[in-house]
């Protein structure tokens, strides 16, 4: 366990108030690192009117930098445009290490590039799986190769994700750590009273998009309803494929057996989950899948497609896996229905508390930070040699980009010397009602 306390800058385009896996990962990890005594600052882009500095629970400081998103919540990539603000934040917060999240975040890539130019150690966490064949993936992988060519350490959320990242970026596997996500078991608790087994309720909560297997659901739901007359579905979530599900309901007259809830705010997800016995996940690709952790924490038996990192997430007795094929999914659901009488939701929840814990994730991440800070400092020439190996043409372009970044940084140091950037004083937070919520969360996480 390290005694050295770090000052970490988390950078990503994806943070609250936007909601998702990456956002909640950054938040929970930051809270646990704050509890361990480290200083954490988050940098993201402005969301609507939410621009400037905000403080969240536990004194988590968030910089909402007023760069407008241009595509799917990503900041407009200007390559060098974010250099001044990144430098200012790094100096004023006395940051020791920069941690970027998500390969699809342009702000993350730019911030990591500038941080490396300025000599900071950087850590990168990849949260998703990407392909190799289509034009978008090819370009994304090249950008990733550029960013990861000079990263100190990398983290992936599953072994499958690690393999995918290593293949896409060419990073040496010994530089990549595997630290899974976790779940807030204090929030996701089973229902106080166990549901009866007369009617079996299957819950689906996901974005209704192609990638999440919404088309599979259109095939699977009518078949299950036909084979098992006592089964009902609750479908939460929205997206372009919702129309197909509505059509399926109409076609097979399943209005009384398939309930469509629409978009479910995250605060209400638990109340939807505890109304069911089985959680159905039909994703076509997943690096990790926090949704099935949340379902298992609420005591639901999970039926999921065997894709990506999903098989690594839950023990075999908590999940029934199927190929992403309608008939195999129907078979798996039938098997899950037969296993239901043996399931004890409270016991499942207790096991999840021991298996997945954000404090454990924070401690493991701390080890990665210590390893990253021990990496030797390198000057520009040594770093450029790493970029040259990225490709015959790409390598030279990357070197050129880094040289220009270095020159711009030097110019910026002349224009605004580091001594002129004022460091932010340390604040002691007043005792607040949030402290009770934090201590309850921590108590629950550490039990077991």
């Amino acid at each position: 366990m390290a005694d050295q306390k770090h000052r970490i800058l988390m950078v990503s385009d994806f943070f609250f108030p936007n909601f998702g896996g990456v956002e909640s990962h950054i938040y929970y990890l930051s809270q646990c690192l704050l509890k361990l005594g480290h200083k954490v600052v988050v940098m993201t882009h402005a969301y609507g009117n939410r621009s400037g500095v905000r403080y969240m629970t536990g004194g988590l400081k968030v910089y909402y930098v007023p760069w407008r998103p241009f595509l799917m919540q990503n900041t407009l990539p200007t390559v060098y445009g974010t250099l001044p603000i990144v430098r200012t934040i790094l100096v004023r917060e006395k940051i020791s290490l920069v941690h970027g999240h998500q390969a699809f975040s342009t702000l993350c890539h730019e911030a990591l590039m500038h941080a490396r130019t300025m000599g900071y150690k950087v850590v990168f966490t990849d949260h998703s799986l990407y392909g190799f064949a289509d034009i978008g993936s090819i370009h994304m992988n090249k950008v990733l190769q550029f960013t990861l060519a000079d990263v100190s350490q990398a983290i992936c959320v599953s072994h499958t994700s690690k393999e995918n990242t290593v293949l896409r970026s060419g990073l040496p596997p010994e530089k990549v750590f595997m630290i899974p996500n976790a779940v807030d078991t204090a929030m996701f608790k089973p229902a106080p009273e166990r549901l009866g087994n007369d009617e079996i309720i299957i819950v689906v909560i996901s974005r209704l998009v192609y990638r999440k297997g919404a088309d599979l659901l259109v095939e699977v739901i009518p078949e299950i309803c036909h084979l098992y007359p006592n089964v009902r579905f609750i479908v939460g979530g929205d997206g372009p494929k919702r129309v197909r599900l509505e059509e399926m309901r109409e076609k097979h007259s399943l209005q009384d057996r398939v309930e469509m809830l629409g978009s479910v705010p995250h605060a209400h997800v638990r109340s939807v989950l505890i109304s069911g016995h089985i959680f159905l996940n039909s994703s076509l690709t997943e690096a990790f899948c926090i949704a099935i952790l949340e379902a298992a924490s609420c005591g639901l038996l999970t039926v999921s497609t065997r894709v990506g990192g999903v098989p690594e997430v839950l023990p075999e007795d908590m999940i029934v896996l199927a190929e992403p094929d309608p008939s195999d999914m129907v078979r798996a659901t039938g098997k899950a229905i037969s296993l239901l009488p043996n399931i004890d939701p409270q016991q499942m929840h207790n096991r999840m508390k021991k298996l997945y814990n954000w404090h454990d994730v924070a401690k493991r991440t701390e080890i990665v930070y210590d390893r990253a800070l021990k990496c030797p400092d390198q000057n520009l020439l040594e770093r450029l040699s790493r970029y040259l190996s990225c490709g015959s043409w790409a390598g030279k372009i990357f070197c050129f980009v880094m040289i220009i970044d270095f020159l711009l940084w030097r110019l910026l140091q002349l224009w605004q010397p580091t001594e002129e950037i004022e460091e932010v004083p340390e604040f002691t937070l007043p005792h607040h009602q949030d402290e009770e919520i934090i201590s309850n969360f921590n108590k629950d996480q550490s039990l077991g």
């Binding site: 445009g81 004022e422 604040f427």
Partner: protein, 181 residues
């Protein structure tokens, strides 16, 4: 208290030191003056060279060049802020003044009863972060900036903030800010 760009001056007027005056003065920047005059010279030189090269054009081009240069110098210097002052008159109010190079002074008076709280805020722009001192006023949704044009360092804002807190009878002053001063 001085840095490269700003200087801070505190004075108390009247025998009883009842009126508290805080001034933030802009220090002369040779670099800025150099660039402005250089830009003006470039504009005139361009106009002159265009006139010489295209001989059948009238001298109007050169005159327009001169006019543009004069306007450039006027805009950059005439509207330049020389000093911003905060005059704290306890039990009466706060006067905020902005002094321009042209001699123009803009006054804003805020009665003491209207001040809810003076606050030091971190502001984030697309390229930088800076501290600003603002007033929360009763009945107004927007913050009122104490120093409207200038962005001095926070060590110059702290004594002004403390004086405003004392004047509006705000007791909460955190230890970290006391230490920072």
């Amino acid at each position: 208290m001085v840095n490269r760009r700003y200087g801070y001056l505190h004075e108390c007027k009247w025998p009883l030191e009842a009126i508290d005056m805080h001034h933030v003065v802009v220090r002369k920047s040779n670099a800025k003056g150099f660039f402005v005059y250089l830009s003006a010279l470039i504009v005139v030189a361009n106009a002159a060279s265009y006139l010489l090269l295209v001989k059948d054009k009238s001298i109007t081009i050169l005159l327009w060049g001169f006019l543009l240069s004069v306007l450039l110098v006027k805009v950059m210097f005439w509207n330049r802020v020389m000093k911003e002052s905060v005059v704290v008159m306890p039990t009466f109010g706060v006067q905020l003044e902005t002094h321009y190079a042209s001699g123009r002074i803009i006054h804003r008076f805020i009665p003491i009863g209207k001040i809810l709280k003076p606050v030091l805020l971190e502001c984030v722009s697309p390229v930088t972060c800076y501290w600003s001192l603002s007033l929360l006023l009763h009945g107004e949704a927007e913050l009122t900036l104490v120093l409207k044009e200038l962005r001095p360092p926070v060590k110059m804002l702290i004594p002004i903030w403390k004086a405003l807190c004392d004047a509006s009878d705000i007791k909460e002053v955190s230890d970290s800010w006391k230490d920072a001063n």
